[in-house]
Structure formats: structure tokens, C-alpha cells
């Protein structure tokens, strides 16, 4: 019988009297009785907060894989980065948490300016001038990029490297059921996209991953040239942490950048809410999906921020809108701005560098374990794939018994054979973030040695 409703019985009585009614039921009397729910909802009655907390404690106990008890070497688009107390406390301020979409800019300058700062950072990390105010996640950001490419070119064919995360490709295929896009997947050969194997004529978009989802750093010049030769948009799905040290999507010639912003201030969260990063070139501004915040002035000439280019959006353009997105992931965008502010210019470089150092250290040590083989000879950044001598899913389970989340069984992501890799069941994707110590990495290697020995 717990709830958060303020009305006393007397309040309810006097309010009903004001309306000339006798009971709360009178308010629903105009709903046809044939469809009224007679016996109430068939769920349990309400419990107090501490009672519900006890139920949730049983859920959390059953989550063995929490990063607080198992050392996390899993990545694949979701990363165990440091989120310091200062970022948690600032991004959990209730003014940010309990605000609505900033439709009344005079009382929403806090969120609007934070988004403006987020947009500035997305623009710098992507090397593209026009960011938006966030999308749901990287996978749905890719779908919006494909829709943008279709709008820009009037074409339907999407050339997508299978180095793009399998889940992102799966989401793109789902939404293609409605848009009619033709999705052409480019196979990987020795870890690199084999662009020569596909016909890109009449393509709307050429899409490449940087690094690709198996961690490999591909030289994107060929993909860019393919896009240019066929008048297609060049879309790059990039790891924004890598932008601390590697070339940006814009430097590779991208027209559109999409990425996953979870690495900036959002915990692993079992997959959501995350934040889809999106930016494009100036030429595509009018086709931008979702919200964008712009700087302007108020009636006294003071700097102010407001959502702008609203004529693209669903509440105004309706069936002709550039996207149906309304609610986005603002709170995670604000958290990203705060986290990046905390890291600063050199902190981001340090994080990116340490990720690369840890990953390369583990990689070298791991190749010394019997039963572990390199998947390719290509360079990587902070994530790499190896072949293991037992099914990768089994390896993950056995490593978990040693308190290590050893990575992702790639077969779990691809859900079957995939053009990105042969014999997918034996492939393990491993990630190292700046949080992993040498001792943790050494323990990983020893545990793997035991697991693969038997």
C-alpha cells in the first residue's frame, strides 16, 4: 500500500464535490462498460520500498558477471572505463535527471548548454562539423546514417563492411524491412574489408568500422575512394576513445560519423541506456536526424541556447520528417560531456594510450599460451580477436569460474556464420581498458593456460 500520491481522503472527497461527482468511478463512467476491467489488474498488490529492495537484492545476487566481482575483459561496444565519483554525482543531479526535453528554452539553459558542449566534443572527436544532440545507441545511429544516405542520394543500396559490429548490422537489416534498403555486407579477408568483392555502383552509402569490431585498424582510404567513385556517402562507425590518439572519421574523409558514447561516463548498464553519437558534414545539415542545439541570443542580447532546425523534425514535418526520433539519450550525452571535461585533452589521450598498451601486453602474453592463435596479423588498437582451441563460449564459462570475464564469444554476437570471420565458434574477442592492471592481465593469462590445458 505504498505510493507517492499526495491526496488525503478529504482531498479526494472535496475535489470530487467540486466536480459534482460522488466517486472516483464517476470519472471513468463514459468508458463503455463492456471493456471496463472489472476485477482490477492481475498483478500483485503494492509493496513497501524495503520489501521491493529485498526482491531486487535477489536479482543482483544472481548476476555473477558484475564487474565488481569479475574482472572485465569484455568489450565489443560496451566498455569498463573509469567513471569517477565526481562525474556520477554531477550527472545524477536531479535538475538534469528529472527535466523534460528542453521545449521551453528560458528554463532549460542548463541542459541546452550541456548538450551544446557535448555537440562540440562529438564534432571534435569525429572531425565533422555538424553533430546532433544524441541518438539511442550506435546501432540506431547507423540506421539513421543509412536513412540520411538514402535521402541524399535517392538510392537504396548500402555497402556495409562486416567489420561493423554484428548487432549494428542486424539492426540495420531489421529497419531495412520498412525502408526497403538493400544491405550488402562486405566480407573480411585476414581481418580487412575486401571492398573489391562487391559492386558498389548505385550505392547510397559505404560503411566502414574504425577500428572494426574485431579490433583491427583498417586503412580507410580504399573505402573512401569507393564511396567517392560511386557518389555514395562515406559512413564511418568509429570508437570515440580511439579519437584520443588515432585519426578521426573526418580525417579519413567521412561524410557521416556514428559511434557508441557509452565509454564516456556511462556504466556497462547491461546494454543501456547508452548514447548514439552522430555527426555529419555541413552538406548534410538539413537531413540531420533528431535534435540539434544551436547558440543564439535572448531578447536582451544575452547568449542563449535553443533546439533548432526544428523544421526537419517529426512534430512539425510529420510523415516527411528526416527521422521519427523524439526522445533521445540526453542524460547520457550530459554525462559524456562531464566525463570528457574531467578527462580533458590529455586525460583522453592517456586513457586511449593505456587501453592500447594493456591490450598489446595481453595479446603478446596470450599468444604464448598453448591453444591460443592470432586471428590476423593486422594492427589493432585496444581490442583483438584470437582463436582458441576450445569453443569460445566454453572458454568464457571456464574463465568465469576463475573470476574473469574473458571477453566475448564472437559467435554469440554473430548468431551463426558471418562474413567477418571463418569458424566463428572458436573466436574470442578480448578488450583491455585503462582500468586493467598488469596483475589482472597476468592472472588472465594464467587462467587461460589452465582452461585450455585440460
Amino acid at each position: 500500500m505504498a505510493d507517492y500520491l499526495p491526496h488525503t481522503d478529504d482531498d479526494v472527497h472535496s475535489m470530487l464535490t467540486f466536480l459534482g461527482m460522488d466517486s472516483l468511478d464517476d470519472l471513468f463512467a463514459h468508458i463503455p462498460s463492456a471493456i471496463r476491467l472489472a476485477g482490477g489488474l492481475e498483478i500483485d498488490p503494492g509493496l513497501s520500498e524495503p520489501d521491493v529492495a529485498a526482491i531486487f537484492a535477489s536479482y543482483t545476487r544472481a548476476n555473477a558477471a558484475k564487474a565488481t566481482s569479475m574482472t572485465c575483459f569484455a568489450g565489443g561496444g560496451a566498455y569498463d572505463h573509469e567513471v569517477p565519483p565526481v562525474v556520477k554525482m554531477l550527472s545524477n543531479r536531479s535538475e538534469f535527471v528529472t527535466a523534460y526535453t528542453p521545449y521551453q528554452p528560458e528554463v532549460a539553459q542548463g541542459v541546452l548548454q550541456a548538450i551544446f558542449e557535448y555537440q562540440t566534443l562529438v564534432s571534435r572527436l569525429s572531425g565533422l562539423a555538424i553533430p546532433n544532440a544524441s541518438l539511442y545507441d550506435a546501432a540506431t545511429a547507423l540506421v539513421e546514417a543509412l536513412n540520411m544516405a538514402s535521402g541524399a542520394t535517392g538510392r537504396q543500396k548500402m555497402i556495409i563492411s562486416s567489420g561493423i559490429h554484428p548487432h549494428w548490422r542486424q539492426v540495420a537489416r531489421t529497419f531495412a524491412r520498412g525502408t526497403g534498403h538493400e544491405i550488402v555486407e562486405v566480407p573480411l579477408r585476414d581481418g580487412l574489408s575486401d571492398w573489391s568483392s562487391v559492386d558498389a555502383s548505385e550505392a547510397a552509402a559505404v560503411v566502414a568500422g574504425y577500428p572494426n569490431y574485431l579490433g583491427t585498424l583498417e586503412d580507410l582510404s580504399e573505402a573512401k575512394a569507393l564511396a567517392v567513385a560511386n557518389d555514395a556517402l562515406f559512413v564511418v562507425g568509429a570508437d570515440p576513445v580511439a579519437a584520443g590518439v588515432l585519426k578521426t572519421a573526418g580525417q579519413w574523409g567521412a561524410d557521416v560519423f556514428v559511434g557508441e558514447g557509452q565509454a564516456f561516463g556511462t556504466p556497462l548498464s547491461f546494454g543501456g541506456p547508452y548514447v548514439g553519437l552522430f555527426a555529419c558534414s555541413v552538406a548534410q545539415t538539413r537531413r540531420l536526424p533528431g535534435r540539434i542545439v544551436g547558440q543564439t541570443v535572448d531578447s536582451s542580447g544575452r547568449r542563449a541556447f535553443v533546439t533548432t532546425l526544428r523544421a526537419r523534425e517529426q512534430d512539425i514535418r510529420r510523415e516527411k520528417a528526416t527521422s521519427n526520433v523524439c526522445t533521445n539519450q540526453t542524460l547520457m550525452a550530459v554525462a559524456a560531456a562531464i566525463q570528457l571535461g574531467w578527462l580533458g585533452t590529455y586525460g583522453l589521450r592517456e586513457v586511449a594510450t593505456r587501453c592500447a598498451q594493456g591490450a598489446h601486453y595481453l595479446y603478446e602474453e596470450l599468444l604464448g599460451v598453448d591453444g591460443v592463435e592470432a586471428l590476423t596479423s593486422q594492427p589493432f588498437f585496444r581490442e583483438f580477436a584470437v582463436r582458441v582451441s576450445k569453443p569460445a563460449r566454453e572458454v568464457v564459462s571456464l574463465m568465469a569460474e576463475r573470476d574473469v570475464l574473458a571477453g566475448l564469444a564472437v559467435a554469440q554476437l554473430t548468431n551463426g556464420p558471418d562474413p567477418s570471420v571463418d569458424d566463428v565458434e572458436s573466436v574470442l574477442l578480448v578488450t583491455v581498458t585503462e582500468r586493467r592492471t598488469k596483475d589482472e592481465i597476468d592472472h588472465y593469462v594464467e587462467a587461460m593456460r589452465e582452461v585450455l590445458k585440460t
Partner: protein
């Protein structure tokens, strides 16, 4: 009604004055820093030895260089320039800005939930799968449906998912259909989603009672209609009383009914979409189930379906397997994934906690009191802002500033801006499109009668100002961190980043 003490207003001005806050970039000073990282002992091999130089960026991407103290000051000051539910009433129609219980946030902050990797093997995250299965079952009980996907990240994502389910259903029957109907009062996301679902929109007019014009609806139906998207109560806050007949007519031509759950907060425990005849239902957990809006997101838009659509749901789905166990299962004819992982999980956990605290009795009371508050406010304001359709409404009331416009030349937007000066957030303005000078108030069930009275008195003061000094009203707000914002300039000369040339 006795006159209670006014309550629940916010002073929306920041503590000290109206100075604008510098950006993070303007605060940056070379060599200042805030970050601290773990000591790892990992060999610090130079990056040039790990990564080929053609991949390295010759330039340093500038972020900002600030101290932790400056970072805290900056974002705290920004937060003081922001209205929020925790600060005061937020009567935005169609947005359900109710109080977000802190308990539900605490549930989500537990590392036992928020530090779990999304690709952890199912055996290592049984608690999460149980949360998802339990939430799905409860959402189905609340809506009267058979099964649900929790993947869609927001309402609009749920809409598009629902339309793809509609498409998969018809295609499985080798039934080619071209059009989807939406009322002229629909949220803009509805027609936008229809287009992305590969269908054409046919708009159905509303009657002079603010409801779907049944005759026009029937005229628009045909064998090429895939379905209809409806909000019930609809976007003017009225219950579609002819819903049973609408459902029969749509089903008779082989179409499906899609329920836009934006207004579900009106009917919990009173009537279920499944019993009205709907085949597909999306819910906005960030509205009805009180998960915080986060300044525009995250949300969650689960989609529940009737038995004949279950096999098409997105996958994988958390499912019960064996004795007390849980695993991921993909429905046999699944449309595929609609989210990179399994949806906005932390939002889902909050919503389940909210449902558990309220239970069947509490949820019913939520809707009863939400409807009571909207009707009280409608009746209380009737002399100044008459209802567009003057009869019992559901959880929100659509009022009109037309009389004030005719008499004093004051627009609905001016009333909305003046309310900001009064310490309230504005109602929704100019929506739905079918009502002139619309001001849509949704007080929600968590506001007290004292707060409602304070809002009413503020509207009365605004009406007096309209009569006495309309010019002053048109300059409102003045007590907010900034005054009226030049929106045209923002669109004409886009400055979307601190690096843009103004």
C-alpha cells in the same frame, strides 16, 4: 472548495543574477587537469611502437583543460539554470511529468545491475534476465497482451517496431498492404514512423467532439489498409468511446490496431488496450512508469502484442527455460534486433521497481488521481481558459487561449511564457494541431491540490495582466535565466558547436 494554501511553485531564477555561464571551453586553461587513473603497472610502450603511424593523429584533439573544482562549479551552475520535476510542477500535456521516486533510481544505481556487461553469458546474469521476464509479464497483465519486447529505446522506436511487426504479419499471409491510418490529432512520431515502416499515411479527421470521426474512418478503410495507429485516451485527453466499433471496422478489412501508449497513465486498472481490441501496444516507461526523462531521454518503449503476433517479436528475448532458469530465445519468425543490446536496461529495472511498489491497487489509484487532477484543473480554469471539448477528460485537459487572444491579443504562447515567470513549467502549447491556441495541461497524480490551486491562481494573475498590460505579458518571461530566445536567428545562422563561425 475551501481555499488551500498555494504550494509547489519554483523560483526558476538562479540564485545569483542573470549572468550567462561560460562554456567548458572558455573555462579551459592550458595544463589544468582533473583526471586520475588507476596505477596499472602495464609496460608503457610508446604508442608509435604499437600502432602504425598512418593511423596516428598528428594533431591533438582539444577537449578542455579544467580543474575538478571548476568542473563541479560549471555543471552545478548549469543545473541551476534548469527547471525539473524535482523543483516544481511540470504540467506538460502528453509528457506525463510525474514525480520520479528516488527509490527506483537507487535500485538502478546498484553495481549488481549497472556493472553487468551486456554480452555476459546468460548463466552469469540470471538476475537481469529475471527482471526482464518479470517486467514483460507485468506489462502484459497491465495492457492485456500476450508477450512483449523490451528492446525499443523510446516511444518512437516502439512505434516503428510495431509497424514492422504489422508488416511482418501481413507479409506472412502474403497480403500486400499499402496504407496506415492516423488521426489528425496524432503525435508527429506516428506519421513519421509510418513512413519509415514503408507505408503511406492516410489522415483521419476528428469529429467536433474531439474524437475519431467514425464515418470518415470507415470511408478511409479498405483492403489495402495495414492498420491504424491510435492513442486512447487520445491526444486531446478524451477517451475514444467508440473504440470497440473502430476496432471491429479495422479488423473487418484485415487491418491491425496499434495502440500508442503515450497516454496509458489515464487507464491503469480501469481498461486495457487488449480488451479494447488492440493488437500492438507500445508503452512509454518514462511516462507511465515514472522513469526520469533525463532532459529528453533516456526512455524505454516496450511493445506488447496479441497472440497472433508473438512469433514476429524482436529477438533475442529473455525467457523462462527449465526450472527457475532464464535464457535468451529468438522468436521463430522474428523481425530481428531493434537495439544494439537488449534495450535501455536500467530504465526497465526502474520501471519494474515502480510497478512492484504500486502493485495492482497502487497503479489503479495512480490513474484515478491523475484523471481527478486533470478534471479539477479543467473545471477550475474554465472561466479563463475554456476546454476545447467541455466534458469529462482523462489524465490531461486541452484548454484554449482563444478567448484571451480575441479579447486582448494575447496568445497561448504568451500565457505559457508568463507561467514560467510564475515559477511553473508551461503546459504543452499548440498541440494537438486541431485545437486553436491549445494549452494542454497534464498535472499528473503526484501534484497536490495546493499546487493545482497555486497554478490556477497564477493563471488568474496572467489573465489580469493580459487585460491590464498585454505588452508586459508578451515580454514574459523576465525572471528566468534568459528571456525570450531568438529561435529564428538560431535556425538562420546555425552555431551547433563552440567551433562554429557565428
Amino acid at each position: 472548495m475551501t481555499s488551500p494554501l498555494p504550494g509547489g511553485r519554483a523560483a526558476s531564477a538562479p540564485l545569483m543574477g542573470h549572468e550567462s555561464e561560460p562554456t567548458l571551453f572558455e573555462m579551459s586553461v592550458p595544463s589544468r587537469s582533473a583526471y586520475q587513473l588507476r596505477t596499472t603497472g602495464v609496460p608503457a610502450t610508446p604508442l608509435e611502437e604499437l600502432v602504425p603511424t598512418n593511423h596516428l593523429n598528428d594533431e591533438i584533439v582539444p577537449i578542455a583543460e579544467v580543474s575538478e573544482r571548476d568542473l563541479v562549479g560549471h555543471f552545478t551552475r548549469l543545473s541551476h539554470r534548469q527547471y525539473s520535476v524535482d523543483l516544481g510542477m511540470y504540467p506538460l500535456g502528453s509528457c506525463t511529468m510525474k514525480y520520479n521516486p528516488k527509490f527506483c533510481d537507487a535500485v538502478a544505481a546498484d553495481p549488481g545491475l549497472n556493472s553487468v556487461h551486456p554480452a555476459a553469458p546468460a548463466s552469469l546474469c540470471q538476475g537481469w534476465l529475471e527482471i526482464m521476464v518479470t517486467l514483460e509479464e507485468k506489462l502484459c497483465a497491465i495492457t492485456g497482451m500476450s508477450a512483449a519486447t523490451l528492446q525499443p529505446a523510446a516511444g518512437a522506436a516502439g512505434e516503428l517496431t510495431g509497424l514492422l511487426l504489422m508488416r511482418a504479419y501481413h507479409e506472412s499471409r502474403r497480403d500486400v498492404r499499402r496504407r496506415v491510418l492516423t488521426p489528425d490529432s496524432a503525435h508527429g512520431t506516428n506519421p513519421a514512423s509510418v513512413t519509415l515502416g514503408g507505408y503511406e499515411v492516410t489522415t483521419v479527421p476528428s469529429s467536433d467532439r474531439g474524437l475519431v470521426d467514425l464515418k470518415a474512418l470507415k470511408a478511409a478503410l479498405g483492403p489495402d489498409v495495414a492498420g491504424i495507429m491510435l492513442t486512447n485516451p487520445n491526444t486531446v485527453g478524451l477517451f475514444e468511446e467508440e473504440i470497440v466499433e473502430i476496432a471491429r471496422a479495422v479488423h473487418d478489412v484485415g487491418g491491425l490496431l496499434y495502440y500508442d501508449g503515450a497516454n496509458l497513465n489515464a487507464i491503469l486498472g480501469a481498461v486495457r488496450p487488449g480488451d479494447m481490441g488492440f493488437d500492438i501496444v507500445h508503452m512509454n516507461l518514462h511516462k507511465t512508469f515514472a522513469t526520469p526523462h533525463g532532459g529528453g531521454g533516456p526512455g524505454a518503449g516496450p511493445v506488447a502484442v496479441a497472440a497472433h503476433l508473438v512469433e514476429f517479436l524482436p529477438g533475442p528475448q529473455a525467457s523462462r527455460v527449465g526450472e527457475g532458469g532464464f535464457d535468451w530465445v529468438t522468436p521463430p519468425r522474428s523481425i530481428g534486433r531493434v537495439h544494439g543490446w537488449q534495450g535501455n536496461a536500467m530504465v526497465l529495472a526502474r520501471a519494474l521497481a515502480y510497478i512492484d511498489v504500486h502493485g495492482s491497487d497502487g497503479l489503479q489509484r495512480v490513474s484515478q488521481h491523475a484523471v481527478l487532477n486533470a478534471n479539477w484543473l479543467r473545471h477550475r480554469l474554465r472561466a479563463i481558459l475554456p476546454a476545447a471539448y467541455d466534458r469529462v477528460c482523462m489524465h490531461e485537459c486541452t484548454l484554449s487561449a482563444s478567448p484571451m487572444k480575441a479579447e486582448y491579443g494575447v496568445r497561448g504562447l504568451d500565457v505559457a511564457k508568463a507561467l514560467l515567470d510564475e515559477g511553473f513549467h508551461s503546459p504543452t502549447v499548440y498541440f494537438p494541431l486541431i485545437v486553436e491556441e491549445a494549452l494542454m495541461f497534464e498535472p499528473t497524480e503526484t501534484e497536490s491540490v495546493q499546487t493545482l490551486e497555486a497554478l490556477a491562481q497564477a493563471v488568474e494573475r496572467i489573465a489580469e495582466l493580459a487585460r491590464d498590460d498585454a505588452d508586459q505579458l508578451r515580454r514574459a518571461p523576465q525572471n528566468t535565466p534568459v528571456s525570450r530566445v531568438d529561435e529564428a536567428r538560431a535556425a538562420r545562422q546555425l552555431i551547433a558547436t563552440a567551433d562554429a563561425q557565428g
